[in-house]
Symmetry: C2
Subunit: 227 residues, 2 copies
């Protein structure tokens, strides 16, 4: 908010300090942390359900999922058989590093390879809060319109990967994948896009391959993997 810039500045500075601590812990554990951000209903939870089920055997993955209310998402994700914790923010529009720090209490990060953080459904506010993650991943479903990268530039500027979800609905909506990519490239040149459908499986192997490459980079070079 314009009128709170100095206060927001202080909060973000404190958040950055906690995020730096988290980042150091993730690096030292060789743990890849991904911060998943999108509007409500773009398919974050469904993506995680499908992704967890498709991970190579023996992958030590875990999920922290954020919502304003309900633990529906945690219950859905738990069925995939991996550890999951729900952060219920009770009104707050984003996760911050202190919430994530508290949620991680009791988990031994050295025994994890991969941590997904499913942020609160909101394409604006979560963007500003560093959680110490290696990458932010933005999801945009094809039902939301191909103009969204241009209208929400903050997340596209900061994202390390963009997923276009629900591609199975393309025949039924007016969404031009090339135009969405072009808008995003204008804001963030070189940003990688993967077009996926959790319903048909379209693009999921490309996504799993991206994950495998990122995991390998973090595991092999723990000191320099946050690029």
């Amino acid at each position: 908010m314009t009128t709170t810039v100095p206060i927001e500045g202080r909060i973000l500075k404190e958040n950055d300090r906690l995020a730096a601590d988290l980042r150091a812990r993730f690096e030292s554990a060789g743990l890849l942390c991904l911060n998943i951000i999108s509007s409500p209903g773009s398919g974050k939870t469904t993506l995680l359900e499908r992704t967890l089920r498709g991970l190579p055997d023996g992958t030590r993955a875990a999920v922290i999922t954020g919502d304003i209310q309900t633990d529906n998402d945690a219950r859905r994700i738990a069925r995939a058989g991996y550890p999951v914790k729900q952060i219920t923010t009770g009104g707050t529009c984003h996760l911050d590093a202190s919430m994530l720090t508290r949620a991680l209490e009791g988990w031994d990060l050295d025994r994890l390879d991969l941590l997904f953080v499913e942020n609160v459904g909101n394409l604006v506010c979560p963007t500003s809060f560093d959680l110490g993650e290696h990458k932010k991943i933005v999801l945009l479903s094809v039902t939301e319109g191909d103009d969204k990268p241009e209208k929400y530039p903050g997340i596209y500027r900061r994202a390390g990967l963009a997923l276009i979800t629900k591609s199975d609905l393309l025949p039924h909506v007016d969404f031009n994948v090339a135009r969405a990519r072009e808008h995003a490239q204008h804001i963030h040149p070189g940003l990688r896009h993967i077009v996926i459908s959790c319903r048909t499986g379209d693009g999921l192997s490309e996504w799993q391959q991206w994950l495998a490459v990122r995991r390998a980079a973090v595991a092999v070079q723990p000191a320099g993997a946050s690029e």
Copy 2:
């Protein structure tokens, strides 16, 4: 944000003061003001385009549309032939009463019957900022999932009408209209729902009828129309 409650409290109090001024101006002008809130891509702009084109001849309507970046929506809406102004927030995640006050400068409210305010695409933050409107209207598209009322109770608690949009996509998604209504009723007993599709026209006459009734109430009883 938990850590900023006292400051947020002050900002909201100042906002409430400005919103009360706006409300008094809307009442005195006999002008129905509606604050349209949803996630990005739920169909706010398309609804306004269709609604403006379907208004009775002679309706004096106008639109204020909010976005973080771009004036795409204002340009789309302008084609319907009604006055429109864009508020570009430049990063702020919601509209507030001071932004709306400034945007209304130069418009003679006594010469308007109907003002739509299209908020920034965000199901969380706009909820807290009173704009002096008669009603908040929440849109939920069927592609977002029927669990959203439960997960975003703030807006459902405060909304005066809920629109379920993109009903033409119902055959292609896993969305149960009855379940969405039930979740919403649990939070806000008696909340009216209208299911619409701007593509097929489904539900639009019911929505126009709702508008006509609300407009008549404001025009006839300007002093008591904010119920």
